[in-house]
């Protein structure tokens, strides 16, 4: 029976959330413009409306999760993103796979952040929350799913299958419920995809806070007060957004097989640019806090940060990147709504900025070259230029659309080699950033003149010269651009290291900037080596092409063939491909597929022997186990020159709905990662081409040779039944046990010979690994001779590609430090805000007491 209640509840809550957000917008708007008497009344209304809004948004999320995790496949969202076999944590990934679910998590974060702001900052509540509630109203309209006239407003995630789809089954049987969902994209079945989207959307949500403060400041003309409460949130936002982006990069590194963590795809760029702008905003806000300059740039950048987030939402969800990005996007029919959203916030945000432009206080003093403001300002400008260089090409599809909207023809495409195109600019910007942040920190902590500056810089200079010189000569780093980046990063590291060294004893709470900049310098070094010096180690030195039909030489040169159970050297390793492995539920290791026999159900296998790992038995012979049939793991043993061994399991997913997905396995080393993935293998749907059958006559205990392998006929047993089929009194079924020896291990083949009624049957045994099919063809009981038939085919192999990523750990360590640094800075700035707020509150209450005394 179709459960319509849960969907109706979800839809009702969505509508309720939309209405309450409008009410809250109105109430907070009135509160901001009202006089002192009415203000509190309106604030109270706004608070009520927003609290109800928050509850209902959380309710919508919970309802949708109940639908997805409860396998309510009568709902289109559950059907198209989930399936019965998905563990609960991937049900979360399934939630974010669809656009509606990702809008929803964004709204949940916004609502919760709004509640935090209501409780922590009463003095800004009115204008701040008016902006918040308005944004929520826009977002909620995206999942409204209401039709007004001819206009579709939003896409509801609570649509039933029969309403969302035109399948004929729903006409004949409206109550039809699919038995299983179509499943989650296998690429998203990764732990990183459980946490990356919520963190990224928390980053998106937090960018609203500096925007809301900037708009509130312009609205209420409190130009000087907004930076203090906004700064900790801007730092928090940069940290979370940065973390979200990097988790995505890390997922790409682990799951996709393009061999890296960053591909300059428009979708990646769309979140990178707002992050750069946000970081620039932090810097100008710090300048403003010191001496009240850079107000305009702080306001502009805080507004731009959020507008760019909305722009990136537009780019990724409107389908406009369809011809430009490898991520296949679907236009839900919301592009018009998204465009309105983008236009409203761009015009609204920058409109009020321009409207107040003349009114904004101006500092006339030109900053000296020896002032920190000058350097920080140049740094912020460089960050903006960095973003500009990325957003211009990323927006090419938008230019095309604009030209075409006016009747023109524009067929400009993105640069074909995006990595090279962006890197050549971003690298030099990064050099500038590293130099500026090294030098700027000295200005930040001391009043400087030229003499003092040179004194302070002597030590870092010397450290840089010696250490970067040593690395350049020893590694060696030869390319000019790499030398520049390395030197700049080492300089940034040593300069900030010196500062940190002095700060850590006196006032560790102020060390946020130094730690963040050290982290950034390490990230640059990590990126330089892991990307710039990534090299292929799986070089084919046999001089033989891998495939006859090979189309390009590069494939033949950069891949090696591994035959099963055969050693093959690769650079500093001996490799041995051990065969295919499967994931068995409840087993900590991957299980050899030869140990499992197939059943009618793809997901169920029967253990041929006891399944044990590390001395512990998990399943006994004959137990039925559950497997993930689409995941094939290729066990490859590595032995390095010192004789140390390790095993990697690169993966292939063969999913009938989604196609083939290849994922790498990575050996993490202290100073380098070994990144491996298969580039060819025998897929399960490939029909093997068997040779003509060859007969062997053997007595028990005799040996014969098939496909170059020695086979020994060990024993024969009589079977009481065959495959669940009972045997009559005159029927016979016997099973031969044959051991086949390969260099390091042996396989067991157990073909069956059957006489039932007056029919003779043979059930052959196939050893896929060795490419052997054995059957027991005849028995000559008088002579004790058994006749076996053998057919052969290609034995199992994989083609492997391996890359080395030097010093990639430096990148991850740097990332961690950046997060810690942002954390320290957020904490410090939040305390500053809190202290002032509490002091003001005390002053206010004193004023009130004074008044009453009078």
């Amino acid at each position: 029976m179709i459960n319509t209640f849960i969907g109706n509840l979800g839809h009702f809550l969505t509508v309720f959330a939309f209405i309450t957000s409008l009410v809250a917008t109105f109430a907070y708007f009135k509160a901001t413009n009202a006089n002192e008497l009415k203000k509190n009344e309106w604030l109270k209304n706004g608070r009520w409306a927003f609290s109800l809004h928050t509850l209902s948004i959380v309710g919508v999320f919970a309802t949708l999760f109940a639908i997805v995790s409860g396998n309510y496949f009568e709902y289109h969202y559950a059907w198209s993103h989930s399936s019965i076999h998905l563990p609960w944590y991937y049900m979360l990934s399934a939630m974010w796979e669809g656009q509606e679910g990702s809008f929803l998590i964004w709204m949940v974060w916004n609502a919760l952040l709004g509640m935090v702001l209501i409780f922590t900052n009463k003095s800004w509540e009115g204008p701040l929350m008016a902006v918040f509630a308005l944004v929520q109203a826009y977002l909620a309209s995206m999942i409204l799913g209401t039709v007004i006239g001819n206009m579709q407003i939003g896409m509801s995630p609570f649509a039933l299958m029969r309403d969302a789809m035109d399948a004929p089954i729903f006409q004949s049987n409206p109550d039809f419920i699919p038995e299983d969902g179509s499943g989650l994209n296998p690429l998203l079945q990764s732990y990183w995809m459980v946490i990356h989207p919520p963190i990224l959307f928390l980053g998106f949500a937090t960018t609203l806070i500096p925007f809301a403060y900037a708009v509130a400041a312009l609205w209420t003309k409190r130009y000087r007060d907004w930076v203090r409460p906004a700064l900790p949130w801007t730092l928090f936002s940069a940290a979370i957004l940065g973390l979200g982006i990097l988790l995505g990069a890390y997922w790409a590194y682990e799951t996709l097989n393009f061999g890296g963590y960053w591909n300059w795809d428009p979708v990646e760029n769309a979140s990178y640019v707002p992050w750069l702008v946000l970081v620039a905003a932090i810097h100008t806000m710090i300048v403003f806090k010191k001496n009240h300059t850079a107000l305009k740039s702080s306001l502009g950048l805080c507004i731009a940060g959020f507008v760019l987030i909305v722009y990136s939402t537009f780019l990724t969800r409107s389908g406009i990147l369809g011809n430009a990005s490898v991520h296949s996007f679907t236009d839900l029919g919301l592009s018009g709504q998204l465009l309105i959203y983008l236009a409203a916030f761009t015009l609204g945000g920058f409109g009020i900025f321009l409207y107040r432009w003349k009114d904004l206080p101006v500092e006339q003093d030109e900053p000296s070259v020896y002032s920190r403001e000058f350097w920080i300002f140049i740094g912020a400008t460089t960050l903006c230029l960095m973003g500009f260089q990325v957003i211009i090409p990323t927006s090419i599809p938008v230019w095309n659309a604009i030209v075409e909207a006016f009747g023109g023809i524009s067929n400009v495409a993105l640069p074909t080699d995006q990595v090279a195109f962006y890197s050549k600019f971003q690298l030099w910007f990064a050099v500038a950033i590293a130099l500026l942040s090294g030098t700027g920190q000295f200005f930040y902590w001391k009043k400087m003149d030229s003499k003092k500056l040179w004194d302070a810089l002597t030590v870092p200079f010397l450290i840089t010269l010696v250490s970067s010189g040593a690395i350049i000569l020893l590694y060696p780093v030869a390319q000019l651009s790499y030398i520049a980046l390395l030197t700049a990063a080492v300089y940034c590291l040593s300069a900030n290291g010196t500062i940190l060294f002095n700060l850590i004893r006196k006032s560790p709470k102020l060390s946020g900037g130094a730690v963040t900049h050290i982290g950034m310098a390490l990230m640059l070094i990590g990126i330089l080596f892991s990307a710039g010096y990534s090299n292929v180690v799986s070089l084919n030195q046999s001089g033989m092409p891998i495939f006859k039909d090979a189309a390009d030489e590069k494939f033949d040169q950069e891949n090696i063939v591994l035959w099963i159970n055969r050693n093959r050297p690769m650079e500093n390793y001996q490799l041995n491909y051990k065969g295919r492995r499967l994931e068995v539920m409840g087993m900590p290791n991957y299980v050899d597929h030869n140990l499992l026999s197939t059943t009618g159900n793809e997901r169920k296998r029967v253990a041929k022997t006891e399944l044990a790992y590390d001395g512990k038995t998990y399943f006994n012979q004959g137990d039925t186990v559950e497997v993930h049939p689409e995941n094939i793991y290729f066990e490859v043993d590595y032995t390095d020159q010192k004789g140390e061994k390790f095993t990697l399991y690169p993966r292939a997913q063969v999913n009938p709905n989604m196609g083939m997905v290849i994922s790498p396995d990575i050996k993490r080393g202290f100073n380098r990662d070994l990144y491996t993935h298969v580039t060819a293998f025998i897929t399960p749907d490939q029909e093997a081409e068997w040779s003509a059958a060859k007969s062997f006559e053997a007595k028990m205990g005799a040996q014969f040779i098939v496909n170059d392998f020695v086979c020994r006929f060990d024993s024969l047993i009589t079977l009481p039944s065959v495959g669940g089929m009972s045997l009559g009194p005159n029927d016979v079924a016997v099973q031969a046990k044959i051991q086949i020896f390969d260099s390091e291990r042996s396989y067991f083949a157990e073909p069956i010979f059957l006489i039932k009624g007056n029919q003779v049957g043979k059930i052959p045994e196939v050893i896929e690994d060795l490419g052997i099919k054995l059957s027991l063809a005849n028995i000559k009981p008088e002579e004790g001779i058994f006749v076996f038939e053998a057919q052969t085919t290609q034995k199992d192999y994989i083609v492997l590609k391996a890359l080395e990523k030097p010093f990639i750990n430096v990148l991850w360590i740097g990332t961690l430090l950046v997060m810690i640094g942002f954390g320290i800075a957020t904490n410090r700035r939040y305390r500053e805000f809190k202290n002032l707020r509490d002091r003001n509150a005390i002053n206010d209450s004193k004023k009130v007491t004074a008044k009453t005394e009078i």
């Binding site: 289109h76 789809m165 490898v326 679907t330 211009i392 400009v412």
Partner: protein, 134 residues
């Protein structure tokens, strides 16, 4: 001249440089014929060709051939001028490939005969319009 002016001029100069280089390095969406002419002139630069997969009258995609153990494949595609060509791709078939309503191949005629794609972009039909059999 004030420092602010010099600063402004430098920024504008860099911005212009960025825009000029974007225009210079950008590729174009074009057709197989143009790509062939380019290859004949010795221009190996990769370009974008937009088109659709070839389909039989029942709407089933035809012309996909997996080579090399499924990890590479070739397919036929009609560009927007109606020219049909075989495209080779040295990677596994992308997800949802056969369901795409539009395909963009980025590459060139490396050996004069066959278009070799370095990258494939897909535009898939909206999930709400799909007519999948259950």
């Amino acid at each position: 001249m004030k420092k602010a002016h010099i600063f402004g001029i430098v920024i504008i100069a860099i911005a212009i440089m960025v825009i000029v280089s974007t225009i210079g390095d950008s590729s174009t969406y074009t057709t197989f014929t143009v790509a062939q002419n380019m290859a004949q002139d010795g221009n190996k630069e990769a370009i974008h060709v937009v088109g659709q997969l070839t389909k039989d009258p029942q709407g089933k995609v035809v012309g996909i051939q997996s080579g090399r153990d499924m990890v590479s494949f070739s397919f036929t595609m009609i560009d927007n001028d109606g020219k049909t060509e075989t495209v080779f791709y040295n990677e596994p078939m992308p997800q949802d490939f056969a369901r795409s309503e539009q395909v963009v191949v980025i590459g060139s005629y490396k050996n004069q005969e066959q278009f070799i794609a370095d990258k494939i972009l897909l535009k898939c039909p909206s999930k709400y319009k799909e007519e999948q059999t259950i």
